[in-house]
């Protein structure tokens, strides 16, 4: 497993949110953990988004996993960063995408599909949700 790039949000001197893009060839795994509460998450994550744009096209990928099960909270400003990240992934690859999410988390059940844009046929047909209970 190779880490392609990662990004995090620091608040009060500690990391409160981390996202990591890993290649477990030929599967791409992008995980999100912690909480996005800051007012301007782009301040911390714009470099990560740029690196994804640069590095993903050269990766050989035939399966994708987006893992939100460790993401405890996401404010509205965080939505736009997540949209940027998943849009890059869907645009670069045509592989099927498995989205791991929390069964008891309202935003992951209701809004995450909107952020992924699953109403678009090309995205909806290659996206599968797997629901997990929070431990």
């Amino acid at each position: 497993m190779r880490v392609l790039t990662y990004g995090d949000i620091m608040d009060g001197g500690t990391s409160v949110f981390t996202t990591v893009a890993k290649l477990d060839a030929p599967k791409l795994i992008v995980s999100f953990s912690g909480a996005i509460r800051v007012d301007n998450p782009y301040r911390f994550l714009s470099a990560y988004v740029s690196e994804l744009e640069e590095r993903l096209p050269s990766a050989q990928v035939n399966a994708i996993e987006l893992d939100f099960t460790e993401l405890n909270f996401c404010n509205s400003n965080g939505f736009y960063v997540i949209m940027d990240i998943v849009e890059i992934i869907y645009n670069v690859f045509s592989a099927n995408v498995t989205v791991k999410r929390l069964r008891e988390d309202d935003w992951q059940q209701e809004t995450l599909p909107i952020l992924l844009n699953v109403d678009e046929p090309d995205i909806g047909t290659r996206t599968t949700f797997e629901d997990f209970s929070e431990i």
């Binding site: 608040d11 009060g12 509460r37 007012d39 301007n40 909270f73 404010n75 509205s76 400003n77 939505f79 736009y80 949209m83 008891e104 988390d105 309202d106 935003w107 059940q109 209701e110 809004t111 909107i114 952020l115 109403d119 929070e134």
Partner: protein, 167 residues
């Protein structure tokens, strides 16, 4: 021994008043929301306590951002009683702010909320605007019934979540 059903009849009421509003720096909303989630979660299922967290976070941050008087008081009331989770937020505001929020809330309560969320997210993203989704999120994600009132100079935003389906 107490059963889950016994625990889920627990009545809790919390009241926070902070003044002056200008002294609220850092993530005080998150701090209160996190505590309330832990407290409510001691008696109620996680889905309920997480809703308390989300609603408090959104309403508190809105109140702090939109308060017009730095010397005023921000007030948060949280009540849960086995059937209903009620969260009420009060802050100083102008009549025009109330009218704008009232119009927004009326739209939320009378439209296809999922479609409204999708349209709003895509529109705001295109225009590179921040946030702006808070009350829509509460209605869509948390199944919250939002109401708004104005008693000059106080704006009162209230969220009610029926617990029936979760207990």
């Amino acid at each position: 021994m107490l059963s889950e059903a016994d625990l889920q009849t627990t009545r809790i009421a919390m009241h926070y008043s902070i003044s002056p509003q200008k002294n609220i720096i850092g993530d005080i909303g998150g701090l209160i929301a996190g505590f309330c989630e832990e407290l409510v979660g001691s008696f109620y299922p996680r889905v309920v306590s997480k809703r308390a967290n989300t609603v408090i976070t959104e309403l508190f941050n809105n109140a702090v951002e939109n308060s017009i008087d730095p010397s005023s008081t921000i007030t948060l009331e949280v009540q849960i009683n086995g059937a209903l989770l009620r969260i009420k937020m009060t802050n100083a505001a102008r009549q025009e702010q109330f009218e704008k929020i009232k119009s927004h809330v009326d739209r939320i309560n009378s439209t296809d909320i999922r479609r409204l969320m999708a349209e709003t997210i895509h529109e705001r993203r295109k225009l590179q605007l921040k946030g702006g989704l808070g009350l829509i999120r509460l209605a869509l994600e948390n199944k919250s019934r939002i109401s708004v009132d104005y008693k000059e100079p106080l704006l009162i935003v209230e969220s009610e979540i029926q617990l029936g389906g979760h207990l």
